[in-house]
């Protein structure tokens, strides 16, 4: 009989309920404080190199939101992170640590571009062509997530290892597809850099604001996917199964759920989230596929998702923050002479403080325990 049981049994349980209600703020509190703390430490860093941190941050802020174009660019930069973060978050709810968004984006992107360059797409109206290219991207990502899912379910191969390997395989595979001149696979032979030919005009997502990068309808696509995933998790029986497998796979099996099936599907759906984000980029931003444009989007998605505590709705502000910081950083470099790398450092610190939340809780006197599943991800391999 442990102390824990003693306390539990004695209290009228209503107390704990009230405490839990009070803690509802908590999931937001820790990330917010982590961001604040990171900027303080970043500011010290900037001051150390002899720059006024307030000036630097002011430049950063204007770079992020200083004009209509800057705001549009910030939002545009954020859109792909929503997909790559969902790729982590959905698998995460099934107890899996999918760090393969990088590869899932590439495969989704190249599939979308390939489908977008099909000859008959030019004769297809946009209302059909756009869904086709998005679904193509989702399908590519789905398959690239399905592979580690089935490996995990059927052979026990850990998804962390297999997704890392599949990232490499995807990277070199799409490079070869886009590079190769003999045979020509998807390379645009006219172009000086390796890339695919441009997709059909009809498959392009319409631009909203012609910023750099352009803000296009991909924003609404990815917002829709975030809400759809939230709905699936919260309201459907499949979502219930997914979270049960993620929280207690033994109980899930005992309750008659097919744990293998859920694992495979969760990984595949995660991949599809990344794939659709890649398709939105191919279709809305570049109108072609170039592997380099996806570099680090998958890995940053891990950070975005963890900052949002794997909550699909929370991913939206989290991605916006991430994208805006990256979008605003060049102005800080121009005006205050502070390297873009400082923003990268601040971003990394945010995640570090979210992971080591004890630091944040100590400094800002935030009470309570970390959510178990978040703790597991940042201290071990997704609770393995």
């Amino acid at each position: 009989m442990s102390m824990g049981t003693d306390q539990r049994d004695l209290e009228p349980s209503g107390f704990r309920l009230k405490v839990q209600e009070a803690f509802q703020l908590q999931p937001v509190l820790v990330p917010l404080y982590a961001i604040l703390l990171s900027f303080i430490v970043g500011g010290i860093l900037i001051a150390l190199i002899g720059v006024n941190p307030f000036e630097a941050y002011w430049a950063l802020l204007r770079g992020m939101f200083g004009s209509k174009d800057n705001i549009a660019a910030s939002v545009a930069r954020s859109v792909p992170f929503m997909g790559s973060a969902l790729a982590l978050a959905f698998a995460f709810r099934a107890g899996l640590f999918n760090i393969g968004a990088e590869g899932q984006l590439l495969v989704g992107g190249v599939t979308a571009a390939w489908v977008g360059t099909w000859a008959w797409m030019t004769d297809t109206p946009a209302i059909i062509a756009i869904p086709i290219i998005l679904l193509a991207g989702a399908f590519g990502g789905f398959m690239w997530g399905w592979v580690p899912g089935i490996l995990r379910a059927k052979t026990g191969a850990h998804e962390v290892i297999s997704t890392i390997m599949l990232n490499s395989i995807a990277l070199f595979l799409v490079r070869w597809i886009v590079n190769s001149r003999d045979p020509v696979i998807l390379r645009d032979l006219e172009a000086s850099v390796p890339r695919t030919e441009a997709i059909s005009d009809t498959a392009e997502l319409p631009t909203i604001i012609d910023s750099q990068p352009p803000l296009h309808w991909g924003l609404f696509v990815m917002l829709g996917v975030c809400f759809l995933i939230a709905f699936v998790l919260k309201r459907t029986t499949f979502g219930f199964e997914t979270i049960t497998v993620g929280t207690n796979p033994h109980a899930a099996r005992y309750a008659g759920m097919s744990v293998d099936r859920i694992i495979i599907l969760a990984m595949a759906i995660s991949g599809a989230c990344a794939g659709i984000a890649a398709a939105s980029e191919v279709s809305g931003t570049n109108q072609l596929f170039q592997p380099g444009t996806f570099a680090l989007i998958g890995f940053d998605g891990i950070a975005v998702a963890l900052l949002a505590r794997a909550n699909p709705i929370g991913i939206i502000p989290s991605a916006l923050l991430w994208g805006s910081l990256l979008s605003g950083a060049p102005l800080m470099q121009q005006e205050a002479d502070v390297s873009i790398d400082v923003v990268r450092i601040i971003q990394s610190m945010v995640l570090l403080f979210v992971a080591a939340d004890a630091i944040v809780r100590y400094i800002f006197r935030v009470r309570g325990e970390a959510e178990a599943h978040i703790k597991a991800s940042t201290t071990g391999w997704a609770g393995q």
Partner: protein, 516 residues
Amino acid sequence: MAGDDERIPVLDVRGVTKTFPGVIANEDVDLVLHEGEIHCLLGENGAGKSTLMNVVFGLYQPDKGSIRVRGEQVQFTGVGDAIDHGIGMVHQHFQLIPVFTVAENVILGNELTNGPFLDINEARRRIIELEDKYGLAVDPDAKVGDLSVGEQQRVEVIKALFREAEILILDEPTAVLTPGEVDEFFGVVRSLVDQGKSIIFITHKLREVLAVADRITVLRNGKVAGTADPSTATQKSLANLMVGREVVFQVAKGDAHPGDPVIKITGLRVEDVRGARTVNGLSVEVRAGEIFGVAGVEGNGQRELVEAVTGMRPKIGGTVEILGQDATKMSPRQITELGTGHIPEDRNKHGVVGAYSIADNLILNRYFKPPFARRWLRNEAAIASEAEELVAQFDVRTPGIHVAVDNLSGGNQQKVIVARELTGDVKALVVAQPTRGLDVGSIEFIHNAIIALRDKGVGVLLVSAELDEILSLSDRIGVLYRGRLVGTFDGADATREELGYLMATGAAPESEEAAS
């Protein structure tokens, strides 16, 4: 004032109050322990026994009150202080390292050194000395992982004695032991007090209290509910003190009216996780309207039997028929859908998803069926109304149906599982350790629920390590020994002694064998 006699007590706890945020775990508790005495601390789970002992052992500091050891006022800031004052504790969950030998475990944290080296020989010598003195037979060179549970417990006792403990706190020491080992352990406890040690014995088993105690203190809701003298107390009077109301001891149970077999197991062979064949050619028939109890020392194949019958573990051989259908290769879901309920042995691992609400846990095995689901969508209204109904019907003590099950007491968690598994169209029920670690009130409730189901014509396969539970519930009893049923008894005729002997040896006593 030192209790009812003149001696200075070895341990004198006065007015101890210990609160945790929002919870009063101990309130104004007094406890007096005299030299050479066995003082039983009795109480239900959550009564505050462990908190009190953790205060005495220096793990917690009391908010109020005082502790005196041999008349000297003490203030412990940690376990080290308590050990220095001659207090030792044997925890319910052993704190041993399986890959180390007995001697290595004993000196852990108290290493004898000879220069920079461990002096294991000196340690061995002292361990053997202690073993001889107190009758604690364990090989000091054996690896702890190879020892039986009873032997491991002796290692824990040796550990405390090695640190020169005069006061030993034993936290639910018999919970893990077989009936035979319990008797043996009582022998050790007596030899300890004979040699002048003083013992605080924490338990919630009434029979044991009356067997060993010199003095009894009963805790209820963190307060002393009363003290009792074992020569005048009865199980009933102690239970009433413990629960705070009249407790009906004997489960009221009418005659069984068995019908057709609902679970028919033939020649079942199952392997455990390590590939050892733990169920080896077991056959049994459980009929509708009867409770078939499987008695046995833990580790004789109980877990694998239950998991194989409920579809959680593949079978190596043999067949399982449920309600006339071949269920040998069925999945857990298929078996549930046949009309089988399953109360699992490991409540937290299999029975509930702790982070989920009561409502979600109550539909864990039928969330996909109407009315709880409309095609792909959850029907929150139906889920909530089912939860309200079952919470009321099964007397789950909770402020609401959306409370996470983790926040409930063990008894209430088990009621949630029982509510889920016993409702619906259940015709067969597989029950494993249904009342492990529960308080008297919850045990009573769950036993009655199982019997009510039997009376409605459900066939129940009951597996329990508690012989009392098997005896009071079962209509027929089989003894499981090394993966086989070695004897079947009529529930009314079986005796503790008979079953205990068969559980330990796998064969009936020789004299009887000769006679028959």
